[in-house]
Amino acid sequence: MPEDSYWSTKLAGISARRNHGNRSFEEWEKKTLVPWNRSTGYRETEYENSSGISLKPVYNSEDLSSDYEKKQLGMPGEYPYTRGVYPNMYRGRKWTMRMFSGFGTPEDTNRRLKYLIEHGESGLSIAFDMPTLYGYDCDNPRSHGEVGKCGVNVTSLRDMEVIFDGIDLSRVSTSMTINAPAIVLLAMYLAVARKQGVPFEKVAGTVQADILKEYIAQKEWMYPPEAHLRIIRDMMTYCTENVPKWNYISISGYHIREAGSSAVQELAFTLADGFHYVEMGKETGLDVDDFAPRLSFFFNSSINFFEEIAKMRAARRIWATVLKEKYGARSEKAMLLRFHSQTSGYTLTWQQPLNNIVRTTIEAMAAVLGGTQSLHTNSYDEAMALPSEDAVRVALRTQQIISDESGIPDVIDPLGGSYFLEWLTDEMEERAYRYFEEIEKVGGILQAVKKGYIQKEIAATSYRRQTRIEEGKEIMVGVNKYSVADEKPLRILKISRKAQKAQLDRIREVKSERNEKRVRETLEELENAMRDESVNIMPYVINAVEAYSTLEEISNVGRKVFGGWKEPVIV
């Protein structure tokens, strides 16, 4: 099994280069530290980060291998890209401050998008409500109470037409945070472009479409994993040929982390998902140099400052190395790990909410020092609800202060060369490779997910963390330390139920106006296409949405052909 041994070979190499003693540290410890500690001692008995990596009191050059700077570190914009994907990084272009939003009716979202465009934004980012994310229409009884709540509701093409009314799709790029039904939403977007007379070659944007992390963490799926992967494959192939500016998968660690993983687990599981998509593309016959540049990443930036920075640097190094060595990428673009990041929702507390501004600042700084390409900062009131406008403004200003006042972006990878950070980057890299080897033993990431292995690893970490918080070993300020008795209730955003009524009215209208015969035809054709592995379903989905078949009607074809999915027992 020559392919199988890649991870083991890699690990052996890493461990050979890293496992050497540190004589000067040991001498210092014996001569200076131990005698000192006899009188004062440490505050804690153990020092470790969120990944359970135990930390020494200090690091020096002997913690790195002798050729570290040349082999592992390199320079910005050069392989293995530890220091950044571009040679000039933020001196050339600052990270994109991409604040994720979406709410209420398509009209509400259309107004918001136009407002953002007027203020110079060209990168739109859309959040959908829960029914849309799970492929249910607004008039399904399950959707009651949820329409327009966590994002905008899209039930038919008509909604997409309203969202982008008066917006020229050849001049904007749109990021849609959608996974299980991604192909339907993309088809609707393309249908709007066609109506506007915009050729597909000019259509730019992203769908998240990272279905593996749905089974791992966010739990928004419709069919069994293989069915979703086949659909993603169809989308990849179709876009590579017809929609060259579309990024079809945003491989996401964010949700894995929020679901309770450690930083190392986020790193390892996200990259393992990414490798699976690369293998899928190669198996389909696509050239890795053609499609890998359209894969991007999405990481969490949490509160353990150095750990997050190390994670992002390690991610770049691993991706470049594996794409080159294991998957045969030749073009530089195919090796670059570009990523969006978001500060951690989990670290926010509803107690003393203004403290969240400080947490978000630390996390945002970590993302910038980690070399992110774009960033969303959470608002201080988000532990309880969607953010109010005032809170969103502070969150955006946080990024602007880092960007324009702090001087942090002026020098590339300013922490590079820090003994501790480099050691930690190395350590996280090694631990990620250990997971890759383990996942391979379980039978690959798809099997690991189907068996619940990954989910169990995360649940164990999450429980351990909660236990440590209960025991006071991990501190959340305002929660298990420095709490106050009389918390003033926070004024939070209320979402009206207007959206639900408006959407119900609209879908009734759409259904009364559309050609039912055409709807049935397109859905039947789609069903036939779905039943034949060798057929690419993308054109059939476009036909169906253009006939105003609804999101749920289209999704139900898949539910009929592929069936549903019940997750393995996790706890």
Partner: protein, 149 residues
């Protein structure tokens, strides 16, 4: 802290609790933490899986003869969805199963939920011991009703 078995009420049959996330919501981190914590506390724990309908939740609770249904939602739909569960219980005349809630539940919503019979309504950061104590208390009430007290 095996409170689930400590009281004589639960000596033969420990507290039985059904964890459920009805409605459309995949935030299950808290559920999994609670499942382990309840189990460590000696309770018998069931998980309703993802996206059960309120009907499915009530059916499971009845079929499994649980003491408590523990509902969790982090998507803002708790007022609508928890109420559906509570209404179903009432319409079927079930009063020997307690309902407790949790999730991202803003303070002003808590009395509204209490009123329809959903107690607890714990927000983020609540110590596990507080939740376990409350569930045990509600389970004791439910168990006494089951035993016709």
């Amino acid at each position: 802290m095996a409170v689930g078995k400590s009281q004589s009420l639960f000596r033969d049959k420990p507290v039985k609790v059904l964890l459920a996330k009805p409605g459309i919501d995949g935030h299950d981190r808290g559920m999994f933490v609670l499942a382990r914590a309840f189990r460590d506390a000696g309770m018998d724990v069931l998980y309703a899986g993802l996206l059960p309908t309120p009907e499915e939740v009530v059916d499971t609770a009845v079929n499994e003869d649980v003491d408590v249904i523990a509902l969790s939602l982090l998507n803002g739909a708790h007022l609508v969805v928890f109420k559906k569960v509570a209404d179903l219980m009432r319409s079927r005349g079930i009063d020997d199963i307690a309902i407790v809630g949790g999730g991202t539940i803003p303070e002003p919503d808590r009395p509204k939920l209490e009123k329809i019979g959903v107690s607890g309504n714990f927000g983020p950061g609540t110590p596990l011991s507080v939740i376990i104590e409350h569930v045990t208390e509600r389970a004791a009430q439910a168990r006494k009703k089951k035993m016709g007290e």
